[in-house]
């Protein structure tokens, strides 16, 4: 049976790229960089881009697909630098950039849906046992994420990949903190169903 001692308490980050993450978490530096960006300082803009673009890009890739990810990422930073004067410091700059990224990604998906009814998710793969051996389960997760409702997907990614707290997710998604848990409940249950349909064997993940 489940014991509370095995619950996860540390933030999750899929792959921390040392220098960028270190700079990102240096709040004093972040405050100075934000202030300089608000004055239009191109050096500060480049610095903020350097420490955040990898995070933004990996979120955007999983929100809109690899084909459009570069364009949307560029739009995220264009909007971020244009609107950074509106950043009041009420939240962390990283959370605020995630908010811009999610909004731009959702807006892009809405436009794309209006243009043509086509989503970026890949075709379901061959689910035979022989074929399954050739695929890593993380590929299945990428596929399942593509089938998940975008708003649920953003909540899941901000928690599981970006390692945000519920408070930070609430700030990024502009939703009450109390609804973050229920949104993650739905995201996880639906993802599990999609994964099982794709041939996922959950028992393999706890090894």
């Amino acid at each position: 049976m489940k014991s509370a001692s095995t619950r996860r308490s540390e933030p999750l980050t899929a792959s921390n790229s040392g220098e960028g993450i270190q700079a990102w978490t240096d709040l004093q530096e972040a405050a100075e960089i934000v202030e300089a960006c608000q004055k239009g300082d191109p050096v500060a803009q480049r610095h903020l881009y350097n420490v955040s673009h990898q995070k933004v890009y990996r979120l955007v890739v999983r929100m809109v697909g690899i084909q459009d990810a570069a364009d949307v990422t560029q739009q995220v930073f264009l909007q971020a630098f244009r609107k950074i004067g509106q950043f009041s410091g009420g939240s962390q700059i990283g959370t605020w950039i995630y908010r811009v990224a999610v909004n731009e990604a959702l807006q892009h998906l809405r436009k794309r849906k209006r243009r043509h009814f086509q989503t970026f998710e890949q075709e379901p793969m061959d689910r035979s046992a022989a074929s399954r051996e050739n695929f890593d389960d993380k590929v299945l997760l990428e596929q399942a994420l593509g089938q998940l409702d975008p708003e649920l997907r953003s909540a899941f990614l901000l928690r599981e990949v970006e390692g945000l707290s519920y408070r930070e997710i609430a700030d990024a998604l502009e939703i009450p903190e109390g609804t973050v848990g229920s949104r993650l409940n739905r995201a996880r249950r639906e993802l599990k169903q999609y994964l099982i349909k794709l041939g996922w064997e959950p028992s393999r993940e706890l090894l």
Partner: protein
């Protein structure tokens, strides 16, 4: 707590977002309820799977395409036109140029960003002329920079004062490289300090220290990315010499006129040692 109440809190419990009291209630329930325990186990498996996701490689062209759009935005012009004459908001980058009789080490300081598109255009045009003349007529190449940007002789001390930081090359050059001259260039939107140096063979290398990478200097010339002294470095062929650019501390360094990659590596290693933040 019943199953419904536990299921409602399952993600928050899994993510350690519940209060200690609530977490204890959920934990007690899960110990006794196989259905809720199974649901929680599936969340854990999803988290374990998510941790295995790898980051996609970010295309390098995003910033290059973004930069000119940032520079031309109308609100930026208004803000900076108002801001710059009254504050010490000087934007720095370094520009150094090498001619064949000398090694140039330059530091460029941005005074004004609002006309960045014009700046890019003029800089690219003048730099192209500089590179064209460099191999055959290095003196003329240098004169182009000096004439275009109202160059004048200066010292590291003055350059440091104007730029607000000590250029990394002012702290010393690689062994057998001798500082010859330092210039200040008044560009349309920035001030550049340029040092001229020589090595023991009389060959020359140009070094630029700048706050933002400037691939525009080399136009569409093929560039190769490689590791020099374990540092990611972009190398471009300029005639029979090499130009190389890498990030050092908070700024970028570009050298022009290196004979081969060994010489590039020598400069990379030397400046890394000169930078306390990196050493």
């Amino acid at each position: 707590m019943n199953c419904s109440e536990v299921q409602e809190r399952l993600s928050a419990y899994h993510d350690s977002e519940l209060s200690p009291d609530e977490a204890a209630h959920v934990s007690a329930h899960v110990e006794e309820c196989s259905s809720c325990a199974a649901a929680l186990a599936s969340f854990e498996r999803l988290s374990a799977l998510s941790r295995r996701l790898t980051d996609p490689l970010v295309p390098g062209h995003i910033w290059e395409e973004l930069q000119p759009k940032l520079a031309t935005r109308p609100e930026s012009r208004t803000l900076l036109t108002w801001f710059l004459p009254h504050h010490e908001n000087i934007k720095y980058f370094a520009l150094a140029a090498t001619i064949f009789i000398a090694i140039g080490i330059g530091v460029v300081s941005y005074f004004n960003w609002f006309s960045h598109s014009d700046h890019d255009h003029h800089l690219a045009m003048n730099f192209s002329r500089y590179l064209e003349e460099l191999s055959e007529q290095p003196d003329k190449a240098q004169q182009i920079l000096l004439a275009e940007y109202d160059g004048r002789h200066t010292t590291w001390q003055e350059a440091t004062h104007i730029l607000g930081y000590e250029p990394i090359a002012a702290r010393g050059l690689p062994a057998d490289y001798i500082l010859d001259k330092v210039y200040l260039l008044n560009m349309p939107c920035c001030t550049c300090a340029q040092a001229i140096c020589k090595n023991r063979e009389g060959q020359s290398i140009a070094i630029f220290e700048h706050a933002i990478d400037q691939p525009i200097w080399f136009g569409d010339k093929p560039t190769v990315d490689c590791l020099c002294h374990d540092t990611p470095t972009s190398v471009t062929q300029i005639g029979d010499r090499l130009a190389a650019s890498w990030k050092e501390g908070p700024r970028y360094i570009t050298i022009i006129g290196a004979t081969d990659l060994d010489e590039v590596t020598e400069f990379v290693a030397h400046f890394k040692g000169n930078n306390p933040a990196k050493s």
